[in-house]
């Protein structure tokens, strides 16, 4: 899986966010280099939701932070509305960054425990001293809280620890929207919530995105969730892109990258039929990002791997309309 290649990128001028050859590496404690993200490219159109899926350790959260330049990526370019963030000065970057906002998995850790809800939501405004007009700020905070389904009057003066996980996540969304961002980056924002709350949040996000014309980068390990919210889906494996596809292609029947297939196969079918598998074989574990395999990174677990996969890294190629797969062997397959 390798996925370098940019065949899947849209016209430059169309994209709200265009990330090219993004590389993020950092020093592990032992002094070795961790190859967290190794050259991935993608773009997000205005009003589009791009879902990024992959297992833990595939670098999807690192991508989110690297796009925000928190911290700065090792190399590659991040272009937001035709402005290359990597070339900006620290001060300009600080300004541009506000046009993207991040929401995290842990609803409580992402809110300062010493702040009240009203101040949390208005935080961005106070940083940029746009809060000269107090009344206007306040009415906007109220408006946003209402739009994320919270009653401003009851939670106005609450602290985060007085709220439930779902409510905290709503506050986080309101805070992010306060800065009128163009791109919202959601990093596993549903995984710590209960199922019933998850669906509330998903519906809320879809509605908000529609109403405000936001672009959304939605990172999750849950294929069902990603399928429900995304327009396009990027499958990541060990710091590389394995497959990019339009959401309609994400089902068990379509031909996919072998890794996508593995993921799809692993998602349990919600049926009453009892499955009686034999003892499973030994699993190949995820290779270490300290020392990733040569060629295609998925080859150590891939049933289709050949000698070519060891030597040469496959490029993303359009195998079907709107479906780009980085695999040497997938073309020869037919379902």
């Amino acid at each position: 899986m390798a996925g370098t290649g940019k065949a899947h990128l849209k016209e430059k001028t169309d994209a709200r966010l265009r990330v090219e050859d993004l590389v993020v590496e950092f020093q592990a404690k032992s002094g070795q280099r961790v190859h967290a993200v190794s050259g991935i490219s993608f773009d997000i159109l205005p009003g589009e939701t791009v879902g990024i899926v992959g297992e833990s350790g595939c670098g999807k959260s690192t991508v989110a932070r690297a796009v925000m330049h928190l911290p700065q990526p090792t190399s590659g370019s991040v272009v937001l509305d035709n402005i290359d963030l990597t070339e900006l000065s620290a001060e300009k970057l600080r300004e541009s960054r506000v046009r993207m906002q991040l929401i995290f998995q842990d609803p409580i850790a992402s809110l300062n425990p010493r702040r009240r809800v009203k101040d949390l939501v208005a935080e961005g405004v106070s940083i940029w001293n746009r809060g000269d007009d107090k009344a206007r700020t306040e009415s906007r905070v109220r408006e946003l809280l209402e739009s994320v389904g919270l009653d401003p009057d009851t939670i106005w003066n609450r602290y985060p620890y007085e709220l439930s996980g779902g409510q905290c996540q709503r506050v986080s969304i309101a805070r992010a929207l306060m800065m009128r961002p163009e791109l919202l980056i959601c990093d596993e924002i549903l995984s710590s919530l209960d199922v019933s709350v998850q669906s509330q949040m998903l519906n809320l996000l879809k509605r908000t995105k529609r109403e405000l014309g936001l672009s959304l980068m939605f990172i999750s390990h849950d294929l069902g969730v990603v399928k429900n919210i995304s327009d396009r889906i990027i499958v990541m494996y060990l710091g590389k892109v394995a497959e990019v596809m339009d959401v309609e292609a994400l089902d068990r029947e379509t031909i996919h990258h072998p890794y996508t297939d593995l993921l799809l196969e692993s998602v349990p079918k919600v049926t009453g039929e009892r499955v009686f598998p034999g003892l499973p074989g030994e699993v190949q574990e995820l290779p270490s990002p300290l020392n990733p395999p040569s060629g295609c990174r998925f080859r150590t677990r891939c049933p289709l791997a050949t000698a070519l996969c060891v030597e040469e890294e496959p490029q993303l190629e359009e195998k079907a309309r709107g479906q780009f797969i980085a695999c040497h062997n997938v073309a020869s397959l037919s379902k």
């Binding site: 199922v195 669906s199 509330q200 390990h221 799809l264 079918k269």
Partner: protein, 359 residues
Amino acid sequence: MIGTNTLHAVPADIEPSKTLLRVRDLSASFSTPSGEVVSVERVSFDLHRGKTLGIVGESGSGKSVLGRTIMGLTGLSGNATVSGQILFDGVDFTNPDKKLRSEFLGSKIAMIFQDPLSSLNPVKLVGTHVTETLRQHDRSLSRRDAKEQAIGLLDKVRIPDPQRRFGQYPHELSGGMRQRVGIAIALACSPQLLVADEPTTALDVTVQKHVLDLLGAICEEQGMAMILVSHDLGVVAGRSDEVMVMYAGRIQEKAPASEFFVRQYHPYAYGLLASKPMLDSPAHAELLSITGRPPDPTDRFPGCRFAPRCQNARAICREQEPLLEPVSDAAPEHKAACFFPIDGLAVRTTVDNSQEGAP
């Protein structure tokens, strides 16, 4: 809504010997600084040998406490009260004493945990975890034999290179490997019942599938019964013979798995399924939202626990507690605790056709 099948309500055709575990009116409550919390309330069910019972519920539904109570571990925490009856293989295992517990646990009943890292002692070797269980229940076992058996067990749960893994510490293994070690420990004495408390929540999907396959295959092979506790209907689906949905400490619906995933009668059970974004539904499908949130566990209001969030709730739901009873004569094993049960299959079909809101 509680299963008040008292003993006489057990269908006569079930021989006692087939029943491995019989739970009757089991309640577990904790006294906390903010008040009495009833985590499990009058739960009754039977589990037959070699069968798997899936227990599903959101956080705070009492599903994990139920698992631990069955293991006789709840009473250990001092502030807990357990009432009702647990019969394990004909032996009363309610509030077991020290002797009974150390005789049964690990050898006849075993458990695996949610977080494989924290359920292994960080300063003990992987191998020691397995051998000490073996030697605890078989004093005559020599160290060498124990080691040999342990390596065999590690191999059995598909751990590659078990010789080497034996001498490693838990933090040196990956999450999937650790959970496999957990399973190896649980299997050490070939138990009759395995309580798996959210065994795959901390794992990735691909690893989850392997672990669930492994558990399924071992249950099948050894005729071991399993209680599979999860917040995720998907984990339970296809892996259990019977499904039980818990909400706020009570059983809301209980049915053979083949029935349950076709049609749900309780609005909560239906909502749980309809609010889960599924891979097999079309993209951008509208999801049902259950509004509100679970009740405060210290708040003992009367009536159905789900009534405050239920769109079908009427006056009686807030006054009286519905019983867990069969809904239609056609499926006597399919029980729901609801005064106004819905037909999940019919609702879903309507929703799919109109692509609108939900019940």
